[in-house]
Point group: C2
Chain length 226, copies 2
């Protein structure tokens, strides 16, 4: 039996490809966080569709509504407008949730310790989030150190970030190579029927498929002309 | 105006004394986590009583029910019995929630960043929890490093653990010295009307008052004979 790994699966492209990579060496357990973002319903459907595709038995959906309680985030506060895509900006986007990855990883570690998993996979991508301080290699290295110090002596849990240094186009190609179910994923921050094609997340994804020379299999309301 | 500090206030003795210490140098903002422990109602009352006593304006009660979802803890799973007090044991008690302090601190950092607080106060006590790996100095040091890496460049948040190396009796004396409202606190894991006097938390607290030569002002069903 392979070791278990907790895989953080939002339902988006990156987490789907991350799951495809994790299952090459581990038995995945899927963890989804509902932090009451606008498109949670659609993302949760994508989470279960991908989990079904891979016949994942261990699934946990955590209610992380506290992100909304804490506030300060466009993703969780419907009154703050999402910034239009600006892929060249180095500033921290309005969808930033302070210290989000630390919260997510802390939950993943707690669950990993309970179910005896040896790894946590998170589909963080540095290129997507140049302004997110909790999305860099040295942050994840520091978190691995924290896990060592903060869990039972016999616990050995390592964070894996297989996409961290990939470009979106490379993630698309990796997903296609592993036959990941990209058609089941959802990335749009704005819409739940057809992806809007204009939010940051859609823009990054569409450009990634374009550069990879592939067609994004999900429906869009607007597709940019390159 | 003094800088703000997020103070983690469960409603127990330690967090009350921690708040008394924090307000010597900071303007406290009180953060309480409801992780659906048996005595949450009583602890929440203690939280608000202490906050009222100190006229705290900024208060946040976070729903952290996910601890119960993740499981593996006697505090959150009503079907697991609380271990009888064994103050000499070095093993990890059944009330252990894996990586709990990491989760708590991650939320506190998120809120601190949103409200512009410069400090987080947590009433962790090493003596109480010899088996808790996330309750030691090197864990908090590593967490401070993680905050530096994982927050906005201009953010400066430091974790303060003023009770970490104190004995319970010293905490009682410190609270009395600062005229902290110890009569408003609640520590018992089992009961909400009169403290049980026999769970770990009651036993530690009562022994602390005994050694300090003081009378614990809250009602007990059973008081040990020393």
């Amino acid at each position: 039996m392979p070791d278990k790994a907790v895989v953080l699966v939002s339902g988006g492209l990156d987490s789907c490809v991350t799951a495809a990579i994790a299952r090459q060496r581990f038995e995945p357990a899927f963890l989804h966080l509902n932090y009451r973002q606008r498109t949670e319903k659609r993302e949760l459907k994508a989470f279960h569709d991908i989990a079904d595709f891979y016949s994942i038995h261990e699934r946990l959906v955590i209610d992380a509504a506290f992100f909304g309680q804490i506030g300060g985030s466009a993703l969780t506060d419907r009154q703050i407008e999402i910034s239009p895509a600006d892929l060249h900006s180095e500033s921290i986007p309005s969808s930033y949730v302070p210290f989000r990855n630390a919260n997510i990883l802390a939950m993943a570690v707690s669950w990993a310790e309970v179910i005896g998993a040896k790894a946590i996979f998170i589909g963080a991508v540095e290129e997507d989030s140049p302004g997110y301080p909790d999305c860099r290699q040295d942050f994840f290295t520091a978190f691995n150190h924290l896990i060592q110090l903060g869990t039972r002596p016999e616990t050995e849990i390592q964070i894996h970030t297989p996409l961290l240094h990939l470009k979106k186009s490379e993630i698309v190609l990796k997903g296609m190579e592993l036959q990941a179910p990209l058609h089941l994923t959802w990335s749009c921050y704005q819409e739940e029927q057809e992806a809007c094609g204009v939010c940051d997340s859609c823009a990054l994804r569409l450009r990634g498929f374009h550069i990879a020379g592939a067609e994004d299999p999900i429906p869009y309301r607007n597709r940019p002309v390159y």
